[in-house]
């Protein structure tokens, strides 16, 4: 061992370690932009990754059918009960009118923002390994006109934000992550709050709308939309649906547990909003 420590091999290994630490420091200083070698590797490996990802999705889907048969049975029962309750609600004119208003607002989002510049549909090339917040990589980057911190959506709702950008790839951090905070409001009660992820909620595929008034009127199934404050996200895009309302540990505010409108753990295609009315408003002010 003593001989090894004095040998040239040891010096070579020390040089390699120093080089790696240098790469790390350089990567930190890149401030979210991927190194060209990393970007090149991601771009070259993307077709194979897409192929293996599609196989994996099919295998996971088949396994879920068998593994979750009992859960699906219970869910089916619960959904049937829910349908019965909804049918009762349909008879109630006022409730129906309110739901219709919610839907009109949801449908009207695109008409409301004709100036929104959208990317071409981006394929999800792969999920980040073992990430509790389901970060993923998409097959478009700066060459396709994407920028850091552009919002990422599906037709169902908000998914996340670009946090790492390469020439032909980008990494998306989802709304399940505590790193992402979205100013939001309830479409019916107009209560405002901040949607962000927590570890416990993320592991159940949910996120949380915080800083609501303790006596909030928000109830289960209400739609939560982006409020567009701070210019990070367009106003009025669907984030998710309220599944539970809880008073915070402090006892001063309430929080709503949300189920994201998009199936974040099972995405195959997303769209990036490249520009929208009011983008970066607060940052430029």
């Amino acid at each position: 061992m003593n001989h090894f420590l004095k040998s040239t091999r040891f010096k070579v290994i020390l040089f390699i370690l120093a080089l790696l630490i240098g790469i790390m420091i350089y990567a930190v200083s890149a401030g979210g932009y991927q190194l060209s070698a990393e970007g090149l590797f991601r771009a070259v490996s993307a077709p194979v990754q897409r192929f293996s990802n599609s196989i994996s999705e099919r295998v996971e889907h088949s396994l879920h059918v068998y593994r979750d048969a009992e859960i699906h049975y219970e869910q089916n029962k619960a959904l049937k009960q829910e349908v019965a309750e909804l049918n009762k609600e349909l008879a109630d004119y006022a409730a129906t009118k309110q739901k219709l208003a919610d839907l009109q607002e949801f449908v009207g989002i695109k008409e409301q923002y004709p100036d929104m510049v959208l990317s071409a549909p981006c394929e999800v090339t792969g999920y980040v390994t073992n990430d509790p917040f389901h970060a993923f990589t998409i097959g478009q980057g700066s060459a396709e006109g994407l920028s850091l911190y552009d919002p990422v959506v599906t037709d169902l709702g908000l998914v996340g934000v670009i946090t790492s950008l390469g020439e032909h790839t980008a990494q998306v951090t989802t709304i399940l992550s505590p790193q992402v905070s979205v100013a939001a409001y309830c479409s019916t009660t107009k209560d405002h709050g901040v949607v962000t992820g927590t570890v416990a909620d993320a592991l159940d595929g949910k996120c949380r709308m915080q800083y609501l008034e303790k006596e909030t009127a928000i109830k289960t199934d209400k739609v939560i939309l982006t409020s567009g404050e701070n210019g990070m996200f367009p106003k009025g895009y669907v984030i998710g649906y309220v599944r539970d309302v809880q008073v915070d540990d402090t006892g001063l505010t309430a929080a709503a547990v949300l189920e994201p409108a998009s199936e974040i753990a099972d995405l195959s295609m997303v769209i990036v909003i490249k520009d929208f009315d009011g983008k970066g408003r607060d940052r430029h002010e």
């Binding site: 061992m1 040891f10 790390m24 990567a27 990802n53 996971e60 073992n130 570890v199």
Partner: protein, 184 residues
């Protein structure tokens, strides 16, 4: 007693061997980045198993390659896992040169230590340091199952790597063979 391989044949087999290792590493990378369920960090046992059969410099190279691929797959800072994996691979090579024999149990132990430390560092620097609530759930529900899967995956990986090394004649076995023949 087998005769030592001619140098040209040996060089050819070595090229084939490293090519197969490269393909194996890419296969592990694609398996790691497919789907959104919890998966083993296959590149760690692969790098450890390969390092056990080679000298310190090839082991360091394997550590760099495996570590950088792990960084890309896990969305970590480039070089973060590589630094740790180079250290583990060089230690594995040195331990197998001076202390340990090429046995599954030894490789399992080394992979367990490497994965445990990597998981701990990952947990500390990427989650615990930010002070999020319920952060221990990430360790219990993601890192621990992934670590156990990584450890279990060492068994088939070790068998595959050992088979390739036996067929292609790793440097260590080649030198040992030469020594025995010259001694006779």
């Amino acid at each position: 007693m087998n005769r030592p391989l001619p140098a040209r044949r040996y060089a050819f087999l070595q090229t084939v061997q490293w090519f197969i290792f490269g393909i194996l590493a890419l296969l592990c990378y694609f398996l790691m980045t497919s789907g959104s369920s919890i998966k083993p960090l296959l590149l760690i046992p692969l790098a450890i198993c390969i390092s056990a059969h080679f000298g310190e410099i090839p082991a360091a190279a394997v550590g760099v390659f495996g570590g950088l691929l792990t960084d890309i797959a896990c969305g970590k800072l480039l070089g973060y896992n590589a630094v740790w994996l180079v250290t583990c691979c060089v230690m594995t090579s040195l331990l197998h040169s001076y202390v340990l024999r090429d046995k599954l149990l030894n490789v399992l132990l080394l992979t367990a230590v490497c994965t445990a430390v990597q998981g701990y560092l990952d947990f500390m620097f990427y989650y615990a340091i930010w002070g999020h609530a319920d952060v221990e759930l990430i360790y219990m529900r993601i890192m621990l199952p992934s670590g156990i899967m990584t450890l279990l995956s060492t068994i088939p990986i070790w068998l595959i790597v050992r088979h390739i090394c036996e067929k292609c004649g790793s440097r260590r076995s080649f030198e040992l063979e030469k020594t025995i023949v010259s001694a006779q």
